[in-house]
Structure formats: C-alpha cells, structure tokens
C-alpha cells in the first residue's frame, strides 16, 4: 500500500443489485469443472483456462512488463494444474488462481531484482501501435495495487465489474470502490501528463 489512499468520493452503491459484501459464488457448472479438473480431467482444465485466461493475463499485466506476461500466464496455469488437487473447496478456485498469479508476479520481480538489481520496463516504441497504450499503462502501474489490478482487468481485458468480482474473489462492492477510486486517480495522473 502507498500513501495515496483517496478521501471519500461519491460511489454509486445504489446500482449494486446483490448484497454489497457478498462474494459471488461461481456457477454450479464451473464448480463441476473445477471438481473434474481436480480429479485429473484435462479437458475440464482447458475449459477453466479459457474462462480465466484474461483474468490471469490482467493480474500479471498489472504488475509486470508486458513482454513477460504471456509466458507467465502459462506458468500460472501449469502451477494451478499441478496444485489443483490440494484445493479443498472448488468454489474457492477463482480467488485461489488469482493469488497464484499475484504470487508468481511477485516471485518474478524478486528474482529479476536479484539478477539485474534494477527493474527496467520495456520502452514504449515511438509511433508503434501500442506506444500510447503502454504510456497509459505506465500511469496505471503507478496506482496502488488493488486499483491497478482492477483497472487493468476492466480497461485492458474488457471484463465488467461483476466479472472481475467473480473471477478474483473480490466482493462486487470492493471492485466498485477500486474502479471508481482508481479511475479518479488515473484521470488526475493523465491530466497532469497532458497539460492543456
């Protein structure tokens, strides 16, 4: 956590249809998939990959240089496949997978720091298709972790707030707060970068 927690802002809680502190339970079909994958069904695991690959990609992209993310997505799912037998509660799969992705990102940064003593992000290629996107991503990367992750999942991966909650194990209310506070901070940073 950093020193940039925001003062109160108006958050439209009245738009929340479910109880504000309820973590959405995964659909029964998804629980069945996790149960099957836990028992060694690789096609069930492939289905889980398709459902969660954007979430894992976003969690990693919120923390790591983009060039590293695709490989580490594979690492996260390999770890999950290897460990899924130890997951006692199938409904906990989304939060469990998200925490593996977060830990993998932290582990990557720790090892990279040991090897290079300095973390150097990829430069934004001037004029390239993604240069503007990478410049904005750099501003997102300066936000507190929870805001950063939620915004990447929403703006890069295209997940809705409800999908972010379902796939990360956060409550919808927390996602809503993170989205609004994070967006407010991001707007402020972008305005500072682009003086009128």
């Amino acid at each position: 956590m950093t020193d940039v927690l925001e003062p109160a802002i108006a958050v439209p809680f009245d738009a929340i249809s479910e109880p504000a502190d309820a973590v959405p339970a995964p659909p029964a079909a998804e629980v069945r998939l996790v149960t099957a994958a836990r028992e060694g069904d690789r096609s069930a695991f492939a289905d889980l990959y398709r459902r969660y690959v954007r979430m894992v990609h976003g969690v990693l992209l919120a923390r790591l240089p983009r060039a590293e993310v695709d490989d580490l997505v594979q690492d996260v799912f390999l770890t999950a496949m290897h460990r899924i037998g130890s997951l006692r509660e199938a409904a906990a799969f989304p939060g469990w997978l998200a925490s593996i992705a977060r830990n993998r990102a932290i582990d990557f940064l720790r090892r990279r720091r040991v090897e290079t003593t300095e973390l150097v992000d990829e430069p934004a290629a001037p004029g390239g298709d993604t240069s503007e996107a990478l410049a904005i991503l750099a501003e997102v990367a300066a936000l507190p972790e929870a805001y950063r992750e939620t915004l990447v999942l929403r703006l890069v991966e295209g997940l809705s707030g409800a999908e972010i909650a379902a796939q990360t194990g956060l409550t919808p209310a927390s996602v809503r707060v993170n989205l609004h506070r994070g967006m407010k901070m991001l707007r402020a940073r972008l305005e500072k970068e682009t003086p009128r």
Binding site: M1, P7, A15, L61, N103, V156, H180
Partner: protein, 334 residues
Amino acid sequence: MSDYLWDRRGPADPEIARLERVLGRLRTEPPMPDWNRVAPPASVRHFSPAYLAAAAALVIACGASLWLARGTAAPSWAVVRVTGQPVVGEEQVVEAGRLPVGAWLQTDPASRASVAIADIGRLDVDPGTRLQLLGTREGNHRVALQRGTVHALIWAPPGEFVVETEASTAIDLGCAYTLTVAPGGNGMIEVSMGWVGFEHGGREAFIPAGARCATRPGVGPGTPYYADIGEPMRQAIDQLDFAALDPAARRRALGAILADARPKDAMTLWHLLARVPAEDRDPVFDHLARLAPPPASVTREGIRAGNRAMRDAWWDTLGLGTSRWWRIWERSWR
C-alpha cells in the same frame, strides 16, 4: 443507476471509452497448451545463478542422502551446511544431510544451514537456531521453531508452509519472510515479499510485505505495523498489545497510535478494530474512515459489535488485495 465504468451500460463516458479502445490493444490471449500432453514441471527459467547453485546443492544432497538412507521410508528434507557444523539429531551435517520428520536441526553461534522445504521453497537457518520438522506431505509442510531465526522463501501457492512457535503459528501466504524467536519465546516476523498470516488462540494478524508483527507466549500476535513507523507509535503499539494497561493508559496508547498514523497505516488501524475493546472502537473507526473511507456495507454499529464480514469488506478497499483468499488459507492453521 447506470454506470458505464461498471458494465458499459448507460451513456458512455468518452474518456473511459477512449481508454478502453487504446488499452484494449494490449490484450492478448496466449495460445493454450495442449493440456493432455503437458506435464507440469517446475519452471527454472528465471532463477538466478546463486539460486541455481543452491538448488543444485540441495538436489545433490537430496540424492546422496536418499542413497545413504535407502530402506528407510520416513519423509525428510534435504539440509545443506552453509557455515560451521549444524547438527540434525545427534549427527553433524558435514556438507549435506537429511532432516527427517520428528528430528531437530540445531545451529550453534557459528553455524548456518539451508533446508529445502520439499519442492516448495527454501528455509535459511541462522546461527543459534533450533527447529523441528513436524510433518511434510503434498500441500502441507510444518516446522516448529523453538528459538533463533529462519528466513523462508516459498514459491508454492499460499497456505502450504506453516511454522509453529510457542507464541504463534505463522502461515505462508506467498513468498518471503524472516521469523525470529527469542529464548523466552517472544517472536517477531518481518515480511519482505507477499504475505504471512500469524495466529494464536483465535487472535490473528495479516502481515504484508514491508510490515512486522511481534508475538508473545500466552497472548499471540500483536498488531502488525510497517517497519518505517516512528518510535513513539511503535512503543504505543507494543504497550497496547502486550502491557497490562488500565483503561486510561490504554486510551493514551491508542491516541498516540492514531495521532501518528499515516494513510498506509490503515493496515495497522484495521487490525486494531478487532484488538481494542468495543468501547474504544469508535475513535479507531473514525480515524480509519478518514484514511480509507469504508464501503457502504460497513457501519459503525457493525464494527463496534465486532462484525468480521464488515471488517473484511473494509479491508478489501485498502488497496491490499482481498480478504477472501486469506480467509480460505487460514483454515490451514486451525
């Protein structure tokens, strides 16, 4: 009420729509492996040379001692001598050896050792340490630290490595920490990466990277705090956690903590919500609300009554990740 940021319903916010369009260019979907053909090996792509050297030593030690111990089936961990003469049971570890379940590893003031925590991590053991391997199996690895200092580095998913001390149980929630137990049983944990949960008798602490937490026999974990807080605040936390204070002294200590709390110390204040008696929770509520406004589902009355779901919902807004996943892993220490 429509909310474009939430689900793209309602009138589009032009700035958000632009960000979606631009940032959406960074979205990729890595090709899916053929899971039927993939065996999940441990990746070594990003390991440093120093790490690889240590890992190689542990693998060699593992093989050699397995050969020496052939015929015995007791699970054990590989141990490598770093300096001096560490001892496992009655045997000196000359270069490498095994730490079987139930055995003690001891280092004298001139010894250090490194232990492979099965295939999930590494435990570096400082001089003057005594620890016992309590059990090791897939998904659950436990040691008891009687005294001394260990540095744990875990690369498994959370919840698989547990250290028991006289004063608390430490459960790894991802990555790296240092745990010290003094001869009298007082402990201190300092987390450098990821998270550690600390628990004793239902009293719990969740300690993020950069934070510390003390623990005392018979009391359990104190209140975690970031290592860069000022000395007056640290002393006040120590008093509040472990001293026998009358109500007036307790409120003075609480006041000193609140007076010095910075925005990032919301983590400490959140823990105080469950630490202080109900009659002292209002000032903590007010101060924490100024640092990090609670979500709408959290009420003063609920916090005063000790509602854990409300505390967890508030935690989720602190920018420290979700409480839900460590609530899942805390069952490991029950």
